[in-house]
């Protein structure tokens, strides 16, 4: 394929890779799976890239392809590119700005989010990424009203998980 297109893609993905890592962190529980999912998302992004038009933002376009891959397309594979090993799975919370109560609360929150189902995780992810309800409903393919109702239910479920 076109070398220039390839370079353009790799540059953009390298710049925006945080989005993919955050999705991997939400949807996988160990380092191998994290890297595996990252690779599959990269392949799917690359396959879709020739049709990507510059009029949309690269990052916005990425959300769909990456979430679709994580939720629907991803199947475990063993043939993975070895990348440097990181401690990728856990959310890091330690910060001098937090007192220990808030730190504990955050730890519990991240653990609770991990227990949500695939669709609920997508909702929370887009919400945390500061997406509007209209963008969230567009990405999921449901009505805006439904997206709001679902989000409220997720909030309720999280509360329940925290109190259990």
């Amino acid at each position: 394929m076109d070398k220039q297109l390839e370079k353009q893609f790799v540059d953009q993905l390298e710049k925006n890779q945080n989005i993919v890592h955050k999705i991997c962190r939400l949807y996988t529980n160990d380092q191998d799976s994290h890297n595996d999912l990252f690779q599959e998302i990269t392949i799917q992004l690359w396959k879709a890239y020739p049709k990507f038009r510059g009029d949309a933002k690269f990052s916005t376009w990425m959300y769909r392809v990456a979430l679709n891959t994580a939720i629907t397309l991803y199947r475990k594979s063993k043939k993975r590119i070895k990348t440097q090993d990181y401690d990728t799975v856990m959310f890091k919370i330690e910060s001098s700005e937090y007192d220990s109560t808030i730190e504990d609360q955050l730890k519990l929150m991240y653990a609770a989010v991990k227990q949500l189902n695939d669709i609920e995780k997508a909702l929370v992810f887009l919400y945390l990424e500061d997406k509007s309800y209209s963008e969230i409903s567009d990405t999921l393919g449901i009505t805006e009203v439904n997206a709001r109702v679902k989000m409220n239910r997720v909030k309720g479920k999280l509360k329940q998980l925290l109190n259990s």
Binding site: V10, N18, T42, Q44, V65, T72, Q84, F91, I93, I142
Partner: protein
């Protein structure tokens, strides 16, 4: 404070702890082959097409045609074959058309719906093949009883034997269908379990709005 708002504030901070994959690793990754669900569905569908074509071709040899001629089934068989290959072409076209509609840039729900549609095409194809095999077997059986001298001898000799024969054929067909059903249930159950669950989850509440 709302817990989710607290999380939102921390979310940005998470970026500092995320891994970095460098450009050369990304280059290597895009050369790798995907192992996605849609790829598996495509592979299985192709195997299914090949399987049923092989079965219909494998049955053909000289004796087979001779036998068909002897039971006056030759012309009917040719007509059925033409129809069968026409239907096969239609299914392949239908499958290809639906498969092309699968796009990762669609919204999540539409992607799932399109994958399920592709799956259904292949299901219809399998049902068609089973129905066709069943109908042809029955037709050949009737023609054999009418025209095959060996079979008509057995047939008219003893009524209780006939009942056993029909019973055995029915049981054979039922067992065959059951094993096939089980195989499908297992294969696609495993492959599509997550998709079905998520699709249901997305559709929840949707009717009420």
């Amino acid at each position: 404070m709302d817990e989710l708002e607290l999380l939102k504030k921390d979310w940005k901070r998470q970026e500092a702890s995320l891994p970095r994959i460098n450009a050369s690793d990304i280059y290597k990754m895009i050369l790798k082959k995907s192992s996605s669900l849609t790829k598996w569905i495509l592979i299985i569908a192709i195997l299914e097409f090949v399987f049923w074509i092989t079965i219909s071709v494998a049955m053909i040899d000289k004796n087979y045609f001779e036998h068909l001629k002897s039971i006056h089934f030759y012309t009917i068989n040719i007509i059925l074959s033409v129809i069968h290959y026409g239907v096969l072409l239609f299914f392949i076209y239908w499958f290809y058309n639906n498969y092309r509609k699968i796009k990762t840039t669609d919204d999540i729900k539409r992607l799932m719906r399109n994958i399920l549609k592709v799956r259904k095409t292949v299901n219809y194809y399998v049902i068609y093949n089973l129905a066709m095999s069943f109908i042809i077997s029955v037709m050949v059986f009737i023609a054999s009883v009418l025209y095959d001298p060996n079979l008509s001898k057995i047939w008219s000799a003893d009524t209780s034997k006939n009942i056993w024969l029909i019973g055995a054929i029915i049981i054979f067909i039922l067992v065959f269908l059951f094993v096939l059903w089980l195989f499908y249930k297992l294969l696609y159950g495993i492959l599509l379990r997550r998709l079905h669950r998520n699709y249901k989850e997305l559709n929840k509440l949707e009717l009420r709005n």
